[in-house]
């Protein structure tokens, strides 16, 4: 798989040039926190503490952190099942996220959603969706609602490269362009649609985002290794949404170090080779790339980096301990959070039988 080589210096893009030292260190810290959270999750999964699926974000951190760092009050985020990175980036705590993985009452969804279904509407984060591309019409709807309410905001709707061949994605692109909905679709192209490579799953001319051309929609492609490059490109798309109320389809080249989920044939020498993973770790790791960059810029030292990394590691370990010690919710909660009206015990919620357990 080829990854575009970045030649432009995106640190000079206005959106990056104005970053303070503190803001730069925050970008790095957020990426490191995601990496450490994911690594701890894997450890606990392998230790039998976490059930179901676990889709790790290691290697892709620059995308979520870069995009979320650009959000204003009326910008919103929605993504698919590889959702831990976006969750932490918008400000969800490691504790609530880890506890959700453990299925505990203290989890962000009280243990009702699991790994693929993290939500924080108070932070403009609308999940966390398990069906490939199923979130793409929802992202459209978020953008539609913003426009309807007259707000100057955008919906950033993330998906993997495996989502681009689903029908509802094209329906969404058509409506987004037709209705001029302020939505930014971001394809996090990590090269694999589960265990099937890009070449074996998608037909395209120059890239996946070019498919937007057919809908008369703006599109672009960038490299995810450099968080500055991600920010510069996404900023343009957000401006288009905010100012012109027009959608964009962006493709970001990235890579995941672990499998589609942890139960992946990759680990037994399946669809890709170890040297390919090593190559990306050595040459395209967004955290190492940014670390070097900040050291060059003179805003970070090795010692500081070690401190950031250690703090993230401890935070993740503490989150695992918090999750482990948290209680599981009572059985009576199984039928809560199904109907708004029943939860609130409104007149509607008290009229008629809603559940059929007896």
């Amino acid at each position: 798989m080829a990854t575009a080589v970045t030649t432009t210096d995106f640190s000079k893009a206005p959106i990056n040039a104005k970053l303070s030292t503190e803001q730069k260190l925050k970008l790095l810290t957020e990426m490191v926190r995601i990496r450490r959270f994911e690594t701890e999750s894997l450890r606990q999964y392998n230790g039998g503490k976490i059930g179901g699926f676990l889709h790790l974000y290691n290697g892709q951190e620059s995308v979520a952190v870069g995009c979320v760092s650009l959000m204003g009050d009326d910008d919103h985020v929605i993504t698919a099942y590889r959702d831990h990175g976006h969750a932490l980036a918008v400000g969800m705590t490691m504790n609530e996220c880890m506890a959700e993985l453990y299925g505990k009452a203290t989890g962000c969804s009280k243990g009702k959603g699991g790994s693929m279904h993290f939500f924080a509407p108070d932070k403009n984060y609308w999940g966390g969706h398990g069906i490939v591309a199923g979130q793409t019409p929802l992202g459209l709807g978020l953008g539609y609602a913003l426009k309807y309410k007259g707000l100057k905001g955008a919906a950033m709707c993330f998906m993997g490269d495996g989502a681009v061949n689903q029908g509802c994605f094209y329906e969404s692109l058509n409506i987004a362009s037709l209705f001029e909905v302020p939505v930014v679709y971001i394809i996090e192209n990590n090269g694999y649609s589960m265990g099937t490579s890009l070449a074996r799953s998608s037909a395209f001319k120059s890239c996946l985002a070019e498919r937007a051309e057919g809908f008369g929609m703006a599109w672009g492609k960038c490299n995810g290794t450099d968080i500055y490059e991600v920010r510069a490109n996404v900023q343009e798309a957000l401006a288009r949404a905010h100012i012109e109320s027009k959608p964009t389809l962006l493709e970001v080249s990235t890579y995941r170090y672990y499998g589609h989920s942890v139960a992946d044939a990759n680990h037994t020498g399946g669809y890709r080779q170890k040297d390919e993973i090593e190559f990306y770790k050595q040459n395209h790791d967004p955290i190492q790339h940014y670390k070097r960059r900040l050291i060059e810029e003179g805003v970070l030292t090795e010692e500081q980096y070690e401190q950031i990394d250690e703090a993230a590691k401890s935070e993740a370990a503490a989150a695992a301990q918090f999750a482990d010690e948290s209680p599981v919710a009572g059985e009576e909660t199984i039928t809560q959070d199904v109907y708004f009206e029943v939860d609130r015990q409104t007149e509607a919620g008290r009229t008629g039988k809603h559940f059929f357990n007896d």
Binding site: F119, G141, Y144, D337
Partner: protein, 324 residues
């Protein structure tokens, strides 16, 4: 009280709720400039404009999903499916998104959306356009399912559905759109989960939803006139939430029950209700609970045969006579 068509009753409900709440928006294929495939939304685009009444492309997965997403942010979309049969291409958006997002978010999100349109056979349009999805959808916790049989109910239930904060699947009937009923001029609401006793009786309870409730009423009239049998008719109006009390009280009084529906028998609404009666008031029964449904095959095109495929009043009479 004015006599108005079922479609106009719905139209009044939309108009009133759009006046009441600026976040109510009508969407669907041809609902705006064309006035709706069945003229249910007639005149509303002209009155309210393109922001409130929106023509969508033929793109059910896209626009239904868009409505679900918009509802998460507080818009109250009322989405028309030209046929409920077309929900099949938007299934993921309804079943996985609208129905599950509240639960999976631990109650942080809710979807105040109404998805509506006709769900019926009997119009010679063949199997792909004649599905009754009510038992499928009522099977999903998180969804509400409403099937009004009259113009009065259509208006009162629609107004309630629009104000409801959960996703409501609202199933109308093309054969009823042009039928007239008395509808008061003053505002009224009908709660979901409250059945309507359409006929009081003592010998048997006929339970039904949607157009089948009208079939049951005709049958009850015949039973009274020709067979001296007093049948009580219960129209559920909404399937989920369900008025269990109304059913159990009536059957405890009549000791016999038949469920009538235009959907297919396997895992149908009638199967659920008959199981409930058996579990809760077995000792009250003087006969097995029977069911009358569409004949269990895809909806046939042939106009003559399709009439036979759906439950007719005489089918009900015959079944009643078998246990009374």
């Amino acid at each position: 009280m004015p006599l108005i068509e079922y479609r106009d009753a719905l139209n009044q409900a939309f108009d009133e709720e759009m006046t009441r709440d600026e976040n109510v928006v009508l969407m669907g294929e041809e609902v705006a400039e064309y006035n709706g495939a069945y003229k249910v939304t007639k005149g509303l685009w002209k009155k309210w404009g393109s922001k409130r009444v929106v023509d969508t492309p033929i793109s059910e997965a896209g626009f239904i999903g868009m409505g679900v997403g918009a509802s998460m942010l507080g818009i109250r979309p009322v989405m028309e499916l030209m046929f409920w049969s077309f929900a099949a291409v938007a299934w993921d958006q309804i079943i996985n998104n609208a129905a599950q997002v509240r639960y999976m978010s631990g109650g942080l999100i809710n979807c105040p959306i109404v998805i509506r349109g006709p769900a019926n056979g009997g119009t010679n349009v063949g199997a792909t356009h004649s599905h009754n999805h009510e038992s499928f959808l009522a099977n999903i916790p998180g969804l509400k399912v409403v099937c009004p049989a009259t113009a009065y109910d259509a208006k009162g239930l629609m107004k309630t559905a629009i104000r409801d904060n959960d996703p409501v699947m609202f199933m109308e009937n093309t054969l009823l759109y042009g039928e007239k009923w008395e509808v008061p001029e003053e505002e009224y609401l009908i709660p979901l989960g409250k059945a309507d006793i359409k006929r009081e009786g003592t010998d048997i309870t006929l339970i039904a939803h949607g157009r089948a409730a009208l079939t049951a009423c005709t049958a009850a009239d015949i039973l009274a006139a020709e067979h001296n049998i007093s049948a009580e008719v219960i129209d559920l109006r909404s399937i989920r939430p369900l008025d269990e009390d109304a059913i159990l009280e009536s059957v405890s009084k009549t000791h016999r029950a038949i469920y009538i529906e235009e959907a297919k028998p396997f895992c149908g609404v009638g199967a659920q209700i008959s199981s409930m009666i058996m579990e809760k008031i077995f000792d009250e029964l003087d006969a097995p609970v029977l069911r009358i449904t569409s004949i269990d095959a895809p909806a046939i095109y042939s106009p003559e045969l399709e009439k036979r495929q759906l439950p007719r009043p005489l089918d009900v009479v015959e079944k009643v006579l078998s246990i009374c």
